[in-house]
Amino acid sequence: MKIRISNPFFSLTFILAWTVAQNAFAEGVLIKGEPEDKAQLSQFDGKLNFWFSGNVSERDPSLIVVNSRGQRVDNHDVKLDIASRSHLRATTPKLPPDHYVIRYRVVTEDGLVVSGIRKFSITQ
């Protein structure tokens, strides 16, 4: 059976399949984070930076740091700059040597949540 390209059914199927495929890749993605996961740092400048691609929204951003004793140690100053590469950032005071856990989160305009955990250590 020959399928004519100008067949309306074929073209409709093609358009719908392509649209669905595009939607599957529309969510935000973490491009880069500082500090890196499992990093062991001799010095830490107190700055947390995460960059995301995709359609990040201003809703519910979060970036927190907790030490090994379960105490939150960031400055509660998370900021989100929306751009083609959205920038989530926060700061901490000078931190002593310890193991730390970072939780980050952004929400895309589609309502999808991009969140995760990173761990790093400050060594003596």
Binding site: I5, S6, W18, N55, V107, D110, G111
Partner: protein, 201 residues
């Protein structure tokens, strides 16, 4: 070359359509806290965790149509199933528990700690009296090692409260219907437009 030209034309058309609608979440149909249907649904979060809240009154489930989940403003008292979609992927591998409290802190329902392997946790509640309640999600976070009470997600819920506005019409359904009609129309008309004119003697 006609089929090739036609194929290229449809490819360009599909690319254009997909770029225009790349952010539409297929299947999103949840009420927000304002009662409207939007892209975010009923997202509820604190600095640690975020969930999608859905309440299914038992009375609504009796109808033939699929019930539209309510957000934090539940219109009527009675038996209600509350479901929390755990949107943080790491939380789906940690033990979670849910409590429902009256406004004064009295516990009326709770679930034991368990791992929500399907990514959501549910609790049945009988909201016998209209008023304000709290649905609280506790997470045993092995990464954070923090007190569960400090990180718990408290979700305020109003049941049968005066002033709860009725849900707005589902505009998303109308949008997708319109989108479908546009695509069907293009699929039928564009091939005719691209067909070369018949030669005349």
């Amino acid at each position: 070359m006609r089929p090739v030209n036609t194929f290229i034309a449809f490819l360009l058309l599909a690319l254009t359509l997909s770029d225009s609608f790349a952010s539409i979440p297929l299947g999103a149909s949840r009420k927000s806290a304002r009662g409207t249907i939007d892209m975010y649904g009923c997202l509820q979060g604190n600095e640690y965790y975020i969930v999608n809240f859905a309440a299914y009154p038992a009375e609504a489930a009796k109808g033939k149509k699929l019930p539209v989940p309510e957000c934090i403003n539940i219109p009527a008292t009675g038996n209600t199933l509350i479901t929390l979609d755990l949107l943080d992927r790491d939380v789906r591998h940690k033990e979670v528990a849910v409590k429902v409290l009256k406004e004064g802190g009295q516990l009326i329902s709770e679930t034991p700690y368990s791992i929500a392997k399907q990514g959501n946790t549910s609790i049945g509640v009988n909201f016998s009296i209209a008023g304000k309640y709290q649905v609280v999600l506790y997470v045993k976070d092995t990464d954070f090692n923090m007190d569960n009470e400090l990180t718990a997600l408290h979700i305020p819920v109003a049941v049968a409260m005066p002033g709860n506005e009725p849900a707005a019409k589902n505009t998303m359904t109308g949008f997708f219907v319109l989108l479908g009609l546009i695509i069907i129309g293009l699929a039928f008309f564009v091939p005719h437009l691209l067909r070369p004119a018949k030669a005349t003697d």
